[in-house]
Symmetry: C2
Subunit: 214 residues, 2 copies
């Protein structure tokens, strides 16, 4: 199994945590998002992933893209430990938390969008950061409410073990801190993050512990 | 089953198609995204969905949010007709197509983001439309490559029956046309769209056929 990814990419980080939790060994193939105009735009990489984004997983000759699709694939291929509960409505709750980050927060603050706000819409560095901060703070504040609404929640976003929701939360909080977001409205998320980061599967997947970390 | 939604919302449209395909009856509860500053921001609605976005599905006393989480829930509760193939790698391919729209295109061109570009970043109507057009065109062009890469594809994005990918594609093409996107690079998607729209489940879910259509 080969994971094309970048140490700082939060979508890559989600997949690294899942591979670690499930104990699946993989080859780390770094794709540098800034070097040479972005290695994700080379013809060789775009032949694998026409979206020109990371991560991409190669397994058994199949090429898989989109981090959440990869996480669901790993869940189906390697069911233990489970990253989704068993009840359909509970599964929907966990997926909705993951998507609250993956669809409402992350897409608005990733590198290509920040570059567009800065370079094409001609905003200053500070205005561009304010853009990122706005969407991250708004999205995390909503997620805090979603997580608090879970009855008998346990130490994680849903229950007493990490789920897809936690795999999306932890990388997003790294970005939130980079943007200087005020997280005082999200004490539950901050506590869950600390619980997760103490686990080796999360720590080993952290950006600073990857081979291409700068 | 109650679906809180808005005729023009493409995330709502995805769920309406799934409910129709699976023959699940539901109560249509309109949430007007522009009226009175946005009915999605009322305390009553935000108690259901703290994200202040649509759709929300109420079923058996459970409140579910995020359209893709709702689609997966419907797939688990009402497996026929299946909206995902059986093989894990094929499922990942279909999900990656759905997410290529739900994570890379739709979040960048929905109403709240367009409003922010216009009202907070102070761009003109034309610049704001150009923003939407840019992300939609880029995302659909990548999806065209993903769909063309499927071996023995059939008439839909993946295979010979509608999948989650088609449920995301058709509503996105409505938006693409509203933005005036040039779809000449996406002939396969345009053809799949026409095939889908000829099916009653898709036609009955179209914005113009909803009770709150203007």
């Amino acid at each position: 199994m080969k994971l094309y990814n970048f140490f700082r990419s939060s979508a890559s980080y989600r997949v690294r945590i899942a591979l670690n939790l499930k104990g699946v060994p993989y080859e780390y193939v770094p794709i540098h998002l800034r070097r040479g105009g972005g290695e994700q735009y080379t013809p060789a990489y775009k032949a694998l992933n026409p979206q020109g984004i990371i991560p991409t997983l190669e397994d058994d000759g199949r090429v898989l893209t989109q981090s959440l699709a990869i996480l669901e694939y790993l869940e189906e291929r390697y069911p233990e430990p489970a990253l989704l509960p068993r009840d359909p409505a509970d599964r929907a709750t966990v997926r909705s938390m993951a998507l609250a980050i993956a669809c409402e927060v992350h897409p608005l603050q990733n590198l290509r969008v920040l570059n567009y706000v800065k370079d094409v819409l001609h905003h200053t560095e500070e205005e561009t950061n304010a853009w990122g901060r706005h969407w991250v703070t708004q999205g995390l504040t909503a997620l805090e409410q979603m997580v608090r609404a879970v009855a008998n929640r346990g130490a994680f976003c849903f229950g007493s073990a990490p789920s897809l929701a936690d795999l999306c939360l932890v990388p997003q909080l790294v970005n939130a801190r980079r943007f200087g977001c005020d997280l005082s409205a999200c004490p539950t998320l901050v506590q869950i993050d600390a619980t997760c980061c103490a686990l080796p599967a999360f720590a080993d997947a952290a950006p600073e512990n990857q081979p291409d970390a700068e």
